[in-house]
């Protein structure tokens, strides 16, 4: 546990000593604000809810989260520091977890900094704050899933750009599998249960269900298993890479 914290602390320091974390947070806040207020017409809708705010998160994360996570392992490989890290008296699992948690904290900070939106809706009306909390939890879990995917892709290559692109593509799959325009199209030539089955693998399906304010254990389980699966794959990739 101490080792995980030590590694997470170092990573966080790395994020904040380079512009990565700041750039991510600022851009996330700007874009979240832009989509919520300008594109979706938050004020015009006259509802006291954050639906317009959360709707955009899967798409915002699609590009921003891989940008945060892409250096996680590729940079270690490029600099050769992975050789130092993995010859320390720690398990690879501790290193993987520590690094993942640090990046998740960065995204968490950005998400927490959107609190003015919550204050705004509470000022303007009487929103269901339980639903809002659900939205935040879902959004945070979804970011975790994207980050775990990025951790996996960054372990595959020493090139950050490649790791970014592969992570975006994989995440896009996870979105589209449950994105209504796509599922509606699929229904026309595949049986509905197949489409539903595919959609069950999508972050969209589970994010939307959490957003409704009911924290179903199946949705929680979904995000945690995506994270667990991707981090496990990361450990296999790292082991395979070491074995040569």
């Amino acid at each position: 546990m101490t080792n995980i914290l030590t590694i997470a602390k170092r990573e966080l320091r790395g994020y904040f000593s380079s512009p990565v974390a700041f750039v991510f947070i600022v851009i996330f806040l700007l874009l979240a604000g832009f989509f919520t207020f300008m594109v979706a017409g938050f004020f015009q809708r006259g509802e006291a809810s954050l639906t317009t705010f959360f709707t955009w998160h899967p798409w915002l994360y699609l590009f921003l989260v891989p940008a945060v996570g892409m250096r996680m392992w590729s940079e270690e490989r490029r600099q050769g520091t992975i050789e130092l890290l993995l010859t320390m008296p720690i398990t690879p699992w501790q290193a993987i977890t520590g690094k993942f948690l640090a990046s998740w904290v960065v995204v968490g900070i950005a998400l927490a900094l959107t609190f003015p939106v919550v204050m705004t809706v509470n000022h303007l009306g009487n929103p269901d704050n339980g639903v809002i909390l659900g939205g935040y939890i879902g959004s945070f879990l979804m970011a975790g899933a994207y980050l775990a995917i990025t951790a996996m892709t960054s372990a595959m290559t020493r090139n950050q750009v490649v790791s970014f692109i592969v992570a975006v593509v994989l995440s896009l799959f996870l979105i589209l599998a449950g994105y209504p325009p796509v599922t509606n199209m699929l229904v026309s030539w595949a049986s509905p249960w197949l489409v539903d089955g595919i959609a069950a693998f999508s972050v969209m399906t589970h994010f939307e269900s959490i957003q409704k304010g009911v924290l179903d254990s199946r949705d929680l389980l979904y995000f945690l298993s995506v994270i667990g699966f991707c981090l496990f794959t990361t450990s296999i990739i790292i082991r395979a890479h070491r074995a040569g």
């Binding site: 080792n3 320091r13 380079s18 600099q79 520091t81 010859t87 008296p89 720690i90 070491r242």
Partner: protein, 316 residues
Amino acid sequence: MIQVRELKKHFGPKVAVNGISFTVERGEVLGFLGPNGAGKSTTMRMVTGFIPPTDGSITIGGHDMLEDPIPAKRLIGYLPENAPSYTDMSVQAFLEFSGELRGLSGDGLKRAVGRAIEMCFLENVRHQSVETLSKGYRHRTCFAQSIIHDPDVLILDEPTDGLDPNQKHEVRTLIRRMGEKKAIIFSTHILEEVEAVCSRAVIIDRGSIVANGTPRELKLRSEQAGAVTLRLVDGNAAEVSAKVRQVAGVDRVTVVSERPLAVRAFPQKNAGSDDVARAIGELAFKERWALQGLQVEEGRLDEVFRSITLPDTKKK
């Protein structure tokens, strides 16, 4: 402390290490020599637990590196080739991080970092970011990381690479001093370093150990070892070498240089170098040659290295 048995590593069809065995006890400094691509770094990476071997076993202080890596790794300090370090950290922060992963904390950590900074002469760059350090300083920072927990076992892959002559000297002194209480393996391409630091050296070529012994023993394998070199202020090369050849126990004589004159006498198989040297000395005295020097050659490591690792046709 370090026991390595029949270590093998294949990268696809390529055999990088092919059955290497050795042991290093406390108080020993083992030097790894060998041409580029011989498998020195690969061997070290396996010993430190970074890459798993294809076959063979590694035991560090009684702990099996493959079965029980954490306690084995705890005993090791490692300086990888090219001395990587986290460039976004300051020297001090980097050393603190390494110390923490080594299980140090609080006052103990502070003391360890101070000691490592002092030993590696990093005082004046302590708060500088590693990114902005010169190559030599980066190397020393990574070296400092390897000794932060005062480990029993030190594995150093080219520890003097990129250092200036003064620092090379300091690091050698440091390795020799630490070698009294630790088990150390280090690789180098600088042969004088082996003589200055190692208690034992192995020459690795194409994945196998091709020579193993103290630097002195290795030097004796040199063709020159035991030859007697006579240097004169002046004299006729043909005349002098003809006379030297008559000396009892001399097999053959070569002229090393004409001016100043230097001839080298190779003793016969059963003749002692010292006796030959004494006889040549007496000859020089009798002939009233203007003697500049008379010396029994110890042999040269670079010659041994070359004759062992070059697949040369003369030898065959």
